[in-house]
């Protein structure tokens, strides 16, 4: 029996390239959550998140043997692949993407389902506003917020995923948070 917890990502990827199904399953279960959440947070759409998760792991089946642990963690490797797919999906869906107000979107459904007490409602509204503000950020800023703040990657790891310097990650994150603050203030003024 495959003792997956004791196997490193590199070991699992080696086994996957040799056709080991249990290794693939173990690797998928270890990483699918972070890939799915990243895609969901970047796109705001459940179907895009599912599509990206599928595409990422389909690609892993083909290129598992190319993974080099010296070049970064498997998580960063997966985020890098997921990022390419997400950006491609966002580009493809650009003419149709109205995540923020679309009644059928994942987040609109979730907001509509909140029927709690007033305090909870206010809190939910603020979180929902923040979610919308994140989704409304330009992709370059959105991805640093998703990677560093929502997925809690180290700056160095995020820089590896994005293929830029750590300083660039810091400055984009700083700018992204400033943009979020502006958006949240504007949204609050509108509400008031």
């Amino acid at each position: 029996m495959l003792d997956s917890p004791s196997l490193s990502d590199g070991d699992l990827l080696r086994l996957i390239s040799a056709g080991d199904e249990r290794a693939f399953l173990a690797f998928y279960r270890r990483h699918q959550g972070s890939v799915f959440r990243y895609a969901l947070q970047m796109s705001g759409k459940q179907e895009i998140a599912e599509e990206v998760t599928q595409e990422v792991f389909l690609l892993v089946m083909s290129i598992a043997k190319e993974y080099d642990p010296n070049r970064g963690s498997a998580a960063a490797y997966l985020y890098g692949i997921a990022r390419n797919f997400v950006l491609r999906c966002l580009e493809r869906e650009k003419p149709y993407l109205t995540v923020l107000d679309e009644p059928g979107s994942e987040y609109a459904n979730r907001a509509a389902g909140s029927h709690d007490v007033l305090g909870e409602l206010t809190r939910n509204e603020r979180i929902e506003s923040l979610r919308k503000a994140v989704l409304a950020l330009p992709p370059a800023y959105r991805e640093v917020v998703v990677l560093c703040d929502l997925s809690e990657l180290e700056y160095a790891e995020a820089a590896g995923v994005l293929g830029c310097a750590i300083g660039t990650v810091r400055s984009r994150l700083h700018r992204a948070r400033a943009l979020l603050m502006e958006k949240m203030r504007a949204s609050e003024r509108c509400t008031a």
């Binding site: 056709g19 199904e21 693939f24 399953l25 998928y28 279960r29 699918q32 959550g33 890939v35 799915f36 959440r37 969901l40 947070q41 998140a49 599912e50 998760t53 599928q54 792991f57 389909l58 089946m61 603020r126 979180i127 923040l130 979610r131 994140v134 917020v145 703040d149 929502l150 997925s151 809690e152 948070r177 979020l180 603050m181 949240m184 203030r185 609050e188 008031a192």
Partner: protein, 171 residues
């Protein structure tokens, strides 16, 4: 209500991170598993076809040798032929016969991919055969796709067990 500050944004993002779904739906896993199984089946099939192809070539060569043997004009091996035999051949190997004419130009022997796994060469025989271009391609020779379909002449180096160790092309 107070204006937002950096701390509130960070707290809000933390809450947001904790509220997101943590798992992809089960049907994604099901789809990927079936894709992995399809892929594994395809790999096994490809390996089987490759092995069968190599086996067919070996059988073809053996048949050619068997059919051509009575007609071969056997001559002593020249120094050049022995010197160009594959490097893995045992130095004490006794090479008995070959079919080399003085007006021919022969390349060096190229060891066949599976020859490494065969026992060391104790005695050998060089046999002239005609090979289709496709066989040469499978043996790893670079073959121009635009070349004609005519077979090419080649010498096959057979070991004491009758199995082919190397091939050289004849012009």
């Amino acid at each position: 209500m107070s204006d937002y500050n950096d701390r509130e944004i960070l707290d809000g993002l933390r809450v947001l991170a904790s509220e997101e779904p943590r798992q992809a739906p089960k049907h994604v896993e099901t789809f990927l598993l079936s894709a992995f199984r399809r892929r594994a089946r395809r790999r096994r099939l490809t390996a089987w076809v490759t092995a069968a192809g190599i086996g067919a070539i070996a059988a073809g060569i053996a048949t050619l040798v068997w059919l051509a043997e009575p007609m071969l004009k056997r001559a002593p091996v020249s120094d050049r032929a022995v010197a160009s035999a594959p490097a893995q051949a045992d130095s004490a190997a006794e090479v008995k016969y070959a079919v080399i004419r003085t007006d021919e130009v022969a390349s060096s022997f190229y060891p066949l991919p599976e020859a490494d796994a065969l026992p060391p060469l104790e005695s050998a025989m060089v046999v002239r055969v005609q090979l289709p271009l496709a066989s040469l391609q499978l043996m790893g020779f670079p073959v121009n796709d635009e070349a004609g379909a005519d077979p090419v002449e080649a010498d096959v180096l057979l070991g004491q067990d009758g199995l082919a160790r190397g091939v050289r092309l004849i012009q």
